[in-house]
Amino acid sequence: MDKFKRALACGIALLIGITTGSCGGGSPPGTSTTTTTTTTTVTPTSNVVAVTVDGGPSSNAVNTLYTTVTVCMPGSTTECQTIDNIQVDTGSFGLRVLASVLTLSLPVEQLSGGNALVECTQFVDGYSWGPVSTADIQVSGESASSLPVQVIGSSNFATVPSTCSSTGPAEDTVAQFGANGILGIGVFAQDCGPGCVGSGSPGYYYSCSQTACSPTAASLASQVQNPVPLFATDNNGTILMLPNVPADGAATLAGSLIFGIDTESNNASGTQTVLTLDESGFFTTSYNGTALSTSFVDSGTNGIFFNDSSITACSSSDFSGFYCPANTLNLSATLTGVNNVSATVDFSVANAETLATDNPTFTALPSLGGTYTSSTTTFDWGLPFYYGRRVATAIQGYTTSVATGPYVAF
């Protein structure tokens, strides 16, 4: 999400002969537009929050989905902060906010003995280090109280254990992270889950004194939580609705994130395809005769990433990892759930470099595709999959009128 944007920014800079500080990740943090609001009551009015595809806080994102979340001190309806540019990510679990945009001093979760619970969030492109803190949050009319959230890059926990920093580069600033925070609303209720309850070995959670941190186990309730299961009623999943996008792209997109599935008149299941997922959140994609059993749908990936050695990869280092075919390719693949339900999905792959240079201001690019290796069984359906669709994500163990999660339906 964060990074093809920079390809575009760099490509555009080259094209029009300017230099920017954003090529290669050195851009300064975007100006925070957070405000502290004073409200006396919080009136649930809706289970729908607006989501947008735009350039994000550093104005260099493509195919990246953002929304706005209100964070409050636990128990307070007055000490609140509304934070925009929160990335919407169905590929992670839990709310994380960058310390640099947070004006509230959220209380840190304490372990028995008085140590603080601090998390090393692992992404494939780096880690985010910071305390697990407690907040009341509101998204549209939905609210969750005493939600464990992560505050990334807190100056109170500046020393990162080597076992955390050894997993990748730091993503502890808005510029590095590509957002003011991330709202992980994927299929799991906690980020680590049962694997961290009995042992600190997975390396997600640390017990930190004033002077040192060591890995610790963390109960399910103390882990960073997907907020959706904590909502009062619309708590079994989400539906993302994004408009159809012309092949060449669009400058920005406006869509909706609906909370709950079959809980309100606006989130009925209807007659869509339901693909149940395995215990890791994966299904199978069959492409070019190969069954790829660790496939996933992910609003947090900025393109469709898959292996097809017959498609020309981009040669420019600014577009490394993306496809650059001479002509736009119309392709299809078959998605099959654990429940053996299948659906054929058509998608397009255009020349990434041409997309970036023809319409340099566009941030929604439906035919952006990227390479992947044939050595694994992964097909990553990123945000373009969501364009023109109504995609439901049902949380593990939660039931709707059509199935029990984890599933995706579209």
């Binding site: 999400m1 964060d2 990074k3 093809f4 920079r6 390809a7 760099c10 290669g24 050195g26 990510d89 590929g91 992670s92 692992q122 992404f123 494939v124 492109d125 780096g126 880690y127 080597s162 076992t163 920093s165 050894s166 997993t167 990748g168 580069p169 993503e171 590095q176 590509g178 991330i182 994927g186 799991f188 980020d191 680590c192 694997g195 070995s201 997975p202 390396g203 997600y204 959140g281 994966f282 660790t294 996933f296 992910d298 947090g300 990936t301 900025n302 990433f305 990869a313 280092s317 490394s320 990892g321 390479t371 992947y372 290796t373 044939s374 050595s375 694994t376 992964t378 990553d380 990123g382």
Partner: protein
């Protein structure tokens, strides 16, 4: 064609090896581009089980890490680790696993790529693909110019 042998137990009581491992600054498994000699002592330190499998052109050490993640290291006949691969609930210690190539990975992570769940590095000397989400990561890295004769990149996973 695979001949698994468990070697973790065999080395666990070797005090000298254990001491070296304990003194190491990081959890130390064999490193990309370096000799495979540290695998056994590392396995002892971390009570990780190691299965070693002989292939025609290379040797695979499959290391079950305490985190639940499985790390595989591919060593050429000369003992140099030319590829690593992993899958499981946590990312492995990439600083140790990638060694001198960690910086190339870190640079790519700050350059254009698919996002927090999708990263690739494609260089003449170093190739890496890494994807997945919390609870389920998968990836690999290899040195294209160090592949033993007859080894195809697709074998390395």
């Amino acid at each position: 064609m695979f001949t698994p042998t468990v070697i973790g137990q065999k080395y666990r009581h070797f005090g000298a090896l254990l001491l070296v491992a304990v003194l190491a600054p990081h959890p130390a498994f064999a490193t990309l581009g370096e000799p495979e000699t540290s695998v056994a002592s590392d396995a002892a330190e971390f009570k990780a089980s190691v299965k070693s499998m002989e292939q025609a052109n290379y040797r695979v050490h499959q290391i079950q890490l305490p985190s639940g993640t499985v790390l595989r290291e591919f060593a050429a006949p000369d003992g140099i680790v030319f590829a690593v691969a992993w899958n499981g609930p946590s990312m492995p210690d990439l600083r140790q696993t990638l060694g001198a190539y960690f910086n190339a990975f870190a640079a790519a992570a700050k350059a254009p790529h698919g996002g927090h769940h999708m990263l690739q590095v494609q260089q003449d000397q170093f190739v890496m693909q890494s994807s997945g989400h919390m609870r389920a990561f998968t990836g690999r890295a290899y040195l294209p110019q160090a592949l033993p004769a007859g080894v195809a990149p697709d074998e390395l996973h």
